[in-house]
């Protein structure tokens, strides 16, 4: 299996507190991975480092076939390289319609001048329609996204993520605040996405992780505590100690 993202020996400390400590992590080009861990284990900081929001003190972040280093690139540049991120709190542009949100996310040229003269092509509109159907919002395209329910906003954000056509999706607690049916739908979307690209899901909810049916990485105090199938890691005594046992 070829590796899409490789994080090795990464450390970062905030005011002496080691948020990430010699973390090593790798994911393939079409793989689903769940990251679990107690609060403060460094899950969000890990995402911040990969997406360029935070610069690590040491270590390497290597991306793609050419082995490009992501350190030193801007967030926007990293996003254009093919890393999409979904935040824990749904962040969609509430003032704008679902269609505008999706069009903005759709993979197209990002420079100001091409955007200024951009008019959505028939293919773009079709793609938006298709995405909206996937996330169950095709009836809501004309609505302002601020009017959507919490779960629908989460989906819209996932839809925007898919519209970017990233090679790697970083998804932070996608099922937070969703009803059981909505969770199932979300699982289906993510599993489908992972067939063609890498998906990293950070999640607290064990049931949700079980349904994803994928390899699990357990983070603790900024480094990897265990890795393997869910059953494997839940039997690990260290994991039981720090996380599940409580």
């Amino acid at each position: 299996m070829n590796t899409l993202l490789e994080v090795s020996g990464v450390s970062i400390s905030f005011d002496g507190f080691k948020a990430i400590n010699n973390l090593t992590f790798a994911i393939g080009a079409a793989e689903m991975r769940a990251i679990i861990g107690p609060n403060g284990a460094g899950k969000t900081t890990f995402m911040d480092i990969v997406t360029g929001k935070t610069k690590p003190d040491e270590g390497r972040v290597i991306w793609g076939e050419k082995g490009q280093s992501l350190l030193g690139l801007s967030e926007a540049r990293i996003a254009r390289e093919g890393i999409g991120r979904k935040f824990q709190k749904p962040t969609v542009f509430e003032d704008q319609s679902v269609q505008d949100n999706l069009l903005m996310a759709l993979k197209n040229k990002r420079g100001p001048f091409s955007v200024l003269f951009y008019r959505p092509s028939a293919a773009d509109l079709e793609r938006v329609e298709e995405l909206a159907t996937t996330i169950g919002l095709n009836e809501q395209l004309a609505r302002k996204s601020g009017e959507l329910s919490h779960g629908q906003k989460q989906w819209l954000e996932i839809g925007m993520l898919l519209a970017q056509e990233p090679r790697l999706l970083l998804v932070d607690e996608p099922a937070a605040g969703m009803t059981p049916q909505e969770r199932e739908h979300t699982t289906a979307i993510l599993v489908e996405a992972a067939k063609t690209r890498a998906v990293v899901v950070v999640e607290h909810d064990m049931e949700f992780v079980r349904r994803l049916d994928c390899r699990v990485t357990v983070l603790h105090e900024g480094s990897v505590l265990a890795e393997g199938s869910l059953d494997h890691v839940t039997k690990n005594p260290d994991v039981i100690d720090v996380y599940l046992g409580r």
């Binding site: 801007s74 935040f87 542009f93 003032d95 955007v115 302002k144």
Partner: protein
């Protein structure tokens, strides 16, 4: 292209028709057309108001749409005025000097004329030499280019430094205000090369048009201001509709999210900041020939704050809101401060509006911000909602009152 803009935003058409109608009425009422219902000085006031509306439009783009509360756009406005003022003053002085020297027994050399112009212009600040920045003052074309280029370049440099360091919110506002203050203080110096606190004067006299009376000139400038406002409005609609508008409103609402979508946020901010600085420069270049004089006090930070107040009262985030706000507040302001408003005798104290107008303005600003965040422009919503209460779907254009998608497709 134009057709689609109009078809998607009927509000644009309404705005342009109202502007056209207003221009026609003012033209018919002006002294130049013989009716004389509107005095020349009031035509100038109205023309200046249109320029202020254009500046407010720029402010609305940068603040209402992109979320950058710039307290420096009146500095760009003033710079535009200075740039055109340099040519007006130079050419006018040259005409006078050349006329005076023509009667001399020996014809003056070019150098003598230039020296005489220098003495005329800079005598007041104890100098007679042209500073470097006046190098192009004899060329209308170059000075006109500088009306756009100088504010644009300043905005580019300033914006690049500020946005690159991710300075946002109130800190950015303070920075822009510092820039404005620094510029004003610099211009106040006698050796700034722009005549210190005397500023540039006599700008209402257009070189080569001595035969044209002010009553006619004022109408011409009024037309030019109206045209500039109309074109600026169309440009603003073009910028704010479509995906570019989506992106800058996204930057206003959640900058980090736009960044993670892959958009170079800093570049977008820089583009908007510089383009609006150019628009403000053009507005200033049309304003000051109607005002007749420009001095550094015009550039003082308070002017930029006024600009923000106009946009807030008019309703930010909608283009006609900015125009309504600027027109309404600046006209009411000149009515109150012009001594026309009757004093209010309270028995124990007489309320003089010249002194109390600022208090009233400040109070209205606070009240609008607290209780009517949509501003005066929000009144349009009341009207358009009553007209068709069963609207559904999202706005097609940036302005409320535009057709909704589903209606338009029916």
């Amino acid at each position: 292209m134009q057709n689609t803009i109009f078809a998607r935003n009927p509000s644009v058409l309404i705005f342009l028709s109202l502007l056209g109608l207003f221009t026609l009425l003012v033209t018919l009422g002006a002294e130049a057309s013989g009716t004389g219902i509107i005095s020349t000085s009031f035509v100038k006031t109205l023309g200046k108001t249109l320029c202020l509306c254009l500046a407010a439009l720029a402010m609305d783009l940068v603040w209402g749409y992109c979320g950058i509360l710039s307290l420096g756009h009146f500095a760009f406005f003033g710079l535009g005025g200075y740039m055109i003022g340099m040519w007006l003053m130079y050419e006018r002085t040259r005409d006078i000097v050349a006329g005076a020297l023509a009667d001399a027994p020996i014809p003056p050399t070019t150098q003598e004329i230039t020296d005489a112009i220098g003495t005329q212009i800079f005598g007041v600040v104890g100098s007679n030499e042209f500073p470097l920045i006046w190098s192009f003052a004899d060329s209308l074309i170059l000075q006109l280019a500088m009306v756009v280029l100088v504010p644009g370049a300043l905005a580019l440099v300033f914006g690049w430094l500020a946005f690159r360091s991710r300075v946002t919110g109130v800190y950015l506002s303070i920075l822009t205000q510092a820039m404005t203050l620094a510029l004003a203080l610099y211009l106040f110096q006698n050796d700034s090369g722009l005549r210190g606190n005397n500023g540039l004067s006599g700008l209402q006299n257009i070189p080569g048009l001595d035969a044209v009376p002010q009553s006619v000139l004022s109408v011409w400038f009024f037309w030019a201001s109206a045209l500039a406002l109309a074109l600026g409005y169309l440009l603003a609609v073009f910028i704010t509709q479509g995906k570019f508008g989506s992106v800058i409103r996204g930057i206003r609402d959640d900058e980090a999210r736009v960044r993670f979508l892959g958009y170079p946020v800093e570049v977008y901010k820089l583009v908007i900041f510089a383009v609006t600085a150019c628009i403000a420069g053009i507005a200033g270049a049309l304003y000051y020939p109607q005002a007749g004089i420009i001095n550094p006090a015009e550039v003082a930070p308070i002017a930029s704050i006024y600009l923000a107040v106009w946009v807030a009262i008019g309703g930010r985030g909608r283009l006609y809101g900015a125009v309504i706000g600027a027109a309404f507040v600046s006209l009411v302001s000149s009515w109150f401060t012009g001594g026309q408003a009757p004093d209010v005798p309270l028995g124990f104290y007489t309320l003089k509006w010249v002194d109390w107008w600022l208090v009233l303005l400040g109070l209205s600003f606070v009240l609008v911000t607290l209780f009517a965040p949509k501003g005066l422009g929000g009144l349009v919503d009341l009207w358009s909602n009553r007209k068709s209460p069963n609207r559904h779907g999202a706005d097609l254009g940036p302005s409320a009152g535009a057709l909704r998608e589903q209606e338009a497709s029916e």
